[in-house]
Subunit: 139 residues, 3 copies
């Protein structure tokens, strides 16, 4: 069994944003030399997500509005978590809806995707450097 | 390390529906000959889910109503995504709540499940042929 | 390839609660002798979750209130599932928001975590013994 590990770093300039990281994960896979196995891609921070969906700006705006309805940022004192001095209580909730991680099949040295599957980093508390872990195991 | 791959195809005749795919995944596992490892089962489409829960029709009706409350299909112009000509903006949101994939332990050649765990395909934009990927790695 | 399996048992005395199980999963990893691979940690019950987030009591109270808003327990007859004689319809919905499982990278014999990542068992229908499965594969 081979195993490969890499951290991808991001610094989203606004509080929230979505970044298509598919090509970076594909580069990791190429670098790993693994042809059959599983690729885990996860946020290493608890106010961010990694998820798979469509690379369509309208959809991303829909996610932004919808998540803000489900778990509004303001008023910040609606979250007990923010009594710790943070203002990111909402981000911990939004991340649960969108998920921490994806596991992707690796087949013939490629991410084994349907036609529209793309991997995104979802930032809910940005304006600082944060990491995604790519771990690939297989042969 | 052994690795196995199969696509399962579905054509749900209505817009939304849930299909118990546990026995099909079990057949894949048998076919794979793998006795210890991990099975990844994921929707290959971004308006569908694979999830694990109870095979109980009342619960499925509860999911249907709840998801429609969280992310209503109508009016379709509430989603910017639908400006692309699609009417499935809601489906991309519902799929995030229910999830893209499950990873199931394989032990002694069996899906290592609790008493009520069953695998479902969740369709949120049906009336066409769509796929689930089963990838099993192990020994 | 090595593979390791263990069940962790919990009995949450109230209907709902969150338990930090990180150290128990770390003990499993140590016991497994696996240094590189993937660790799957999943609820074996369909009214419970395993998720990764912050070990902060204010946040847990926020989750509790938020999940109760998204999928209230009462009135129990709002869920068709409860016509089966159960009163846990809400728990099946809450579990979908928080997720069934996490997959964690194993690197150098350790859970490969960001600074604040901790693993939690999320109980939504407690007052009875329930299980979490830890399955680790690798070398």
């Amino acid at each position: 069994m081979k195993s490969y590990r890499k951290e991808l770093w991001f610094n989203v300039p606004s509080r929230r944003g979505f970044i298509n990281i598919t090509s970076q994960v594909q580069e990791c896979l190429l670098e790993s030399g693994i042809r059959e196995g599983l690729a885990l891609v996860n946020a290493m921070h608890i106010t961010a997500s990694v998820f798979i969906n469509d690379d369509e700006p309208g959809l991303h705006a829909d996610y932004e509005r919808w998540l803000e309805e489900l778990a509004p940022h303001d008023p910040v004192d609606r979250y007990l978590h923010n009594r710790t001095g943070e203002d990111n209580g909402d981000a911990h909730l939004k991340r649960q809806v969108m998920g921490r991680e994806v596991v992707v099949a690796v087949t013939d040295g490629k991410l084994d995707f349907g036609p529209w599957e793309r991997i995104f980093y979802g930032e809910f508390d940005g304006r600082r450097r944060k990491r995604v872990l790519v771990k690939i195991v297989g042969e």
